[in-house]
Amino acid sequence: MSVRLWVCALVAVALGPSAARADDGRAADLAAQIDRHLEADWAAAGVTPAAPADDAEFCRRVYLDLIGRTPKVADVRDFLADPAADKRARLVDRLLTLPSHAAHFAAVTRSAWLPQTVTNPLLLGFGNQFEGWLRDRFKENTPADEVARRVLTVGVRQGRRNNDPRFLQPDGADPDAARLVGFYQANDGKPENVGAAVSRLFLGVKLECAQCHDHPFAPYTKEQFWEFAAFFAELDPLAGRRPGDSSDLGPQGEKNRLTIPNTSKVAVARFFDGRDPEWSESKTPRQELAGWLTAPGNGYFGRNLGNRMWAHFFGVGIIDPVDEPGENNPPSHPELLDTLGREFVAAKFDNRLLIRAITRSRAYGLTSRLSHPTQADPKAFARMSLKGLTPSQLFDSLVAATGYREAPFLRANTFNVFPDPGNPRSRFLNRFQGGDKPTEANTTILQALMLMNGDFLDGQTAADRAELLGAVVDIPGWDTARRVEALFLAAFARRPTPDEARRFGSYVDRGGPTGDRKKALGDVFWVLLNSPEFLFNH
C-alpha cells in the first residue's frame, strides 16, 4: 500500500465515526421533532396510535423502502438475533451504503420524474441514461439542490440537422449532458412542458392547469405559467432576435420570453414569487431559475422535496397529491412540513439526513396492524399504511425469497412494454406495471393468475426444481417446524406464530392431500408468496 493510501485510510478512520456521530445526532434530533409534531396532533385529534412494529416488521419494511427488496433469510435471522439497542439505526446506515439503495432510489426517482420514459419505447434509452446518472448521485449522496441545478442548467442545444425540439442534442462540452438530455427530450423539448415538469417536480406546484386558463383552485394564473415556461424559451429553435428587430431586449435577447399561444402577448421569464431576475450576459435564464429555485430562502424547494421523501416512506405525503398544494389540498401537518423543509435546507439538502430521521421516527416504526378506529386515516400517520410494491420491488423480492439465480443480462432488462418470454423479470415488469398510488395499490385478475399459475412461481414452489425451497426440503436433520420457519422467514421475514406453526406444520406432516411432504412444503411456500403479507409493503 502506498503512503498516500495509508494516509487516506487513516484520515477516513479518523473522520468516519465522528462524522457518523454528528449525522446520528442530527437525525435523532429531527426524528424527535417529527415525533413531537405527530404526538401533539394525535393528542389534539384524539388519535390512539398503533403499537410499535416488532423487529421483523421493521426489518422487512426498511429493506423494501431503502433497497427495494425484502431481506433474505440470513439477513432477518441476523437482525432478529442482534441484541444491540440501536440496531435499527445501524441497519439503516448499512443499507444506505449498498449499491441496491442507489439503484432503488434512482429507479423510483426516474419513474416519478420521467414516467413517460418507462412506458414509451422511444424514450426508453433516455430514461435509462438519466437513471444511471441518478444512481451515481444517490451513491455519492449528492445534495438535492446540486442535482436539481445540474438538471436545470445542463448544456443542450438544437440539433444542426433537425431543429425539431424533440431532437435536442447534448452539448459535448458538458460531461453530464449526454445522460441528462433525456429530461428535455422526454418533455418534447418544449418550454411549456419542461417548465410544467420543473414546477411540479422541484417546486411541488402543478402549474399546467393554468396553461389554458387560470388555475381553478389555486391562485396561479395563466400568465404565471407562461412566465415560468419562458425560463426555457431558449429551447425554442425560433427564439432569438428576429431580423430587423432593433428594440432593446436586454442582455438575454429573446431567450427569456415566449409568445403565449393564440395571443399576441409576450411573457417574460419571472420568478414564481413575482420577482424579476437581474438579467445579465453571464447567466442564462435556466441558470437564473436554478439559482432562485435552490436558494436557501426558497421555501418551496425544501418543503417539496421533504414532502416527497416523506411520501416515499409513508405512501402518503403531508401534502397529497404531492404536487397539488392549494386551498383544496392543504398539508395535513403544516408545521411538520415546515420543519422537514427547514432542516433539509439547514443540512445542505442531505437526502440521507431525511432518510435517517424519518426511519427512526416513531410514526415510521409503528405496526401496520390497526388497533383503533382513529388510525384508519392514512394522513394521521398513526399506523403504517399498506403500500403496493413497484414491479421491480416485487420481482426483486421474489428473487430474494426464492433464491432464483438471475443472470445479469436478464436482470438488465427493465423494459416493461414488450415482455420477453424467456425472461421472468421482463414478464413481471410488464404484468405489474401501473401507476397506482402506493396506498391504493390494487391487484388485477391477470396478476393474480400469474402468481397462482405462472411458470416462474410454479418452478419456485416445486420442490424438485425450486432453489431456496429445494434446499429447505432437503436439508438433513431439520424437523418440519424448522422447514416451515425457513419458508416464513424467506417470504414474510418473520417466524410463524404458534397458530401458524401448528396449522402449516400439521399440513406438511400429513403431506397435504397427496401424502407427499415435499409437495406439501411447496404448497406452503406457494401460499406464503401469494399472500398479501408478501405482496405488499406493510
Partner: protein, 440 residues
C-alpha cells in the same frame, strides 16, 4: 350474472371452484352446473368497440369524395339503407347499412397518435394534471357490468398500448374496472398461434399441481390472507382478495372456456377471417353471448402515410369480413338489439393525397360509426366540405361522441364518478352534446 348464491362465502367458492374440474358434481356444485346450462341472465346491454389504431382514412371508408382530386381511386357503393353510401371495400358492412349510423362531422384537436388515442378513448385532452381518466371501456363496464359476474366486465382483445398505456386502463375507477387483456401488444402475423394468443395467460393450473392440492392451497391462502387483512382493512387487501376471487372463478369450469376458440366450427372461424382481428371479433361475440358488458378489439396498421390505397383496401378486407360476421352472428342470436358496435380510431387522415400516395394525420374532419342496439341506423349525420377538409354541418367532438355512445347504451353521460383528485368528474366532459339523431 347472478349465477352465484350470494350467501356462499368467497372461501367456499374458491375451494370448490379450484377443485370443480375433476371432482364430482354434487351439493351446491350441482346447482352451479345447472345454472351454467341455463346460461347467464342476459344483461341489459353490451358494447363492442372496434378500435382502429393508427388513424384510419375515413375519407376512403365512410365519407368518399368521388370526382374530387382528394377522393382517390375508390368508388362508393350503396348500402341496405337507401341514400347511405360507403366505400366499395366494405360490402359486408354495407349489407347492414340500415343498422349503422355514420358520424361524418367528427372534429377533434389532437393529431398525434398518443394524444389522439387518449382523447378519443377518454373524451378529454391529455394533460399532466394528474387526473387519471378512465378509458371508455372502464366507464361503460362500470355502468353496465355486474361486479359479481364470473367473467370480467371489460375485456380488451389485442390492444396495442406502446404509445400511451394510460388510455387503456380504468384510471380513477380503479382496477376492478380494468380490462382483462388477451393478445396484447403483438406485432405482425401470429400465424397458426392465434388460439393460444387469444387465451387468458396463466389460466390453467400448472401441470404438476393436481386439483386436490390446488384446492388445499387456496384454503390455506384464504386463512392466511384473511388473518392479515383483518388487521389491515382497506382497499389494498380488499383488492387483493377480489382479484384472487375473480381469478379462481375464471379458472373454474365455465369461465375460461369462453376463450377457447377451437369450440367454434371451422366454417364460422373462416367467416371472421383467420387473423388476429377476425378471431378477436369472434371472441368478442362469444364474450357478449356470456354477458360481458364491454369488449374491445383492436385492428392496427392504419397509419398509411404512404401507399394508402393498397393498404386501406387490405385492411378493409380484414375489417369487413370480421365486422360483417359479428353483426350477422349477433343478429342470429337475437343479441343485436342489445349490443352496440362502435367503430373509431384516434383521428382521420388528410383529404389531400401526399407525394407517396399516402394520407397523413388529420383530426379536423373525419368519421366514426356506431351500429346495432340503441342506434337509429341507415343514416349519416354531419357533412364535410366537397374537398373533405372541413366540417360543414353537425361537428362532433370527442366528448360529444362519448356522450352519444352513453346515450345509445342507456347510460347518463353526466353521471359523476369520484376521481383520484378528490372531486367528482362526469363520464363525458361538461358541455358534451350527444348526437341525439342517432339514438333510437
Amino acid at each position: 350474472m347472478n349465477r352465484f348464491d350470494p350467501l356462499l362465502s368467497r372461501r367456499h367458492l374458491l375451494r370448490v371452484g379450484a377443485v370443480s374440474t375433476t371432482v364430482s358434481v354434487s351439493g351446491w356444485m350441482g346447482r352451479l352446473a345447472r345454472a351454467a346450462e341455463q346460461g347467464p341472465a342476459k344483461p341489459k346491454r353490451s358494447c363492442v368497440l372496434l378500435w382502429m389504431f393508427g388513424g384510419p382514412a375515413t375519407i376512403d371508408l365512410w365519407d368518399l369524395k368521388p370526382g374530387h382530386e382528394n377522393g382517390g381511386p375508390y368508388k362508393e357503393i350503396s348500402t341496405s339503407a337507401p341514400g347511405l353510401k360507403i366505400g366499395e371495400h366494405l360490402p359486408k358492412v354495407a349489407a347492414f347499412g340500415d343498422r349503422l349510423a355514420v358520424l361524418r362531422g367528427m372534429s377533434t384537436k389532437e393529431g398525434d397518435h398518443n394524444r389522439g388515442t387518449y382523447l378519443m378513448r377518454t373524451g378529454v385532452v391529455p394533460s399532466s394534471a394528474g387526473i387519471h381518466y378512465p378509458s371508455v371501456g372502464g366507464l361503460v363496464a362500470k355502468e353496465l357490468g355486474d361486479p359479481r359476474a364470473e367473467l370480467p366486465n371489460f375485456v380488451s382483445i389485442a390492444p396495442q398500448t406502446f404509445f400511451g398505456v394510460d388510455a387503456y386502463g380504468s384510471g380513477f375507477l380503479g382496477p376492478q374496472h380494468a380490462p382483462l387483456v388477451v393478445g396484447g401488444n403483438r406485432f405482425g402475423d401470429p400465424g397458426g398461434n392465434l388460439d393460444q394468443i387469444l387465451k387468458v395467460d396463466d389460466l390453467d393450473r400448472p401441470a404438476g399441481v393436481d386439483a386436490p392440492s390446488a384446492g388445499a392451497r387456496l384454503d390455506l391462502l384464504n386463512v392466511t390472507q384473511d388473518e392479515f387483512a383483518a388487521g389491515r382493512p382497506g382497499a389494498v387487501t380488499k383488492g387483493h382478495a377480489a382479484a384472487y376471487d375473480r381469478a379462481a372463478r375464471l379458472m373454474q369450469s365455465g369461465g375460461g372456456k369462453v376463450f377457447d376458440l377451437s369450440e367454434e366450427r371451422p366454417a364460422v372461424r373462416d367467416r371472421y377471417g383467420r387473423n388476429l382481428f377476425g378471431q378477436g371479433c369472434l371472441l368478442a361475440r362469444r364474450l357478449v353471448e356470456r354477458g360481458v358488458s364491454f369488449v374491445e378489439v383492436t385492428l392496427g396498421n392504419w397509419d398509411t402515410h404512404g401507399n394508402n390505397f393498397d393498404l386501406v383496401k387490405g385492411l378493409c378486407g380484414t375489417l369487413d369480413a370480421a365486422w360483417g360476421a359479428l353483426i350477422a352472428d349477433l343478429k342470429d342470436r337475437g343479441l343485436l338489439d342489445t349490443t352496440t358496435v362502435v367503430w373509431m380510431g384516434e383521428f382521420g387522415r388528410t383529404p389531400k393525397i401526399n407525394g407517396q400516395k399516402g394520407r397523413d394525420h388529420y383530426p379536423a374532419a373525419w368519421s366514426t360509426v356506431i351500429a346495432g342496439g340503441g342506434v337509429k341506423g341507415g343514416q349519416a349525420v354531419g357533412k364535410t366540405s366537397p374537398d373533405g377538409t372541413t366540417v360543414e354541418d353537425r361537428p362532433v367532438s370527442s366528448a360529444d361522441f362519448l356522450a352519444t355512445v352513453c346515450k345509445v347504451l342507456g347510460i347518463d353521460p353526466e353521471k359523476p364518478n369520484m376521481s383520484n383528485v378528490g372531486r367528482p368528474i362526469p363520464i363525458a366532459d361538461r358541455g358534451a352534446k350527444p348526437v341525439l339523431e342517432v339514438v333510437a
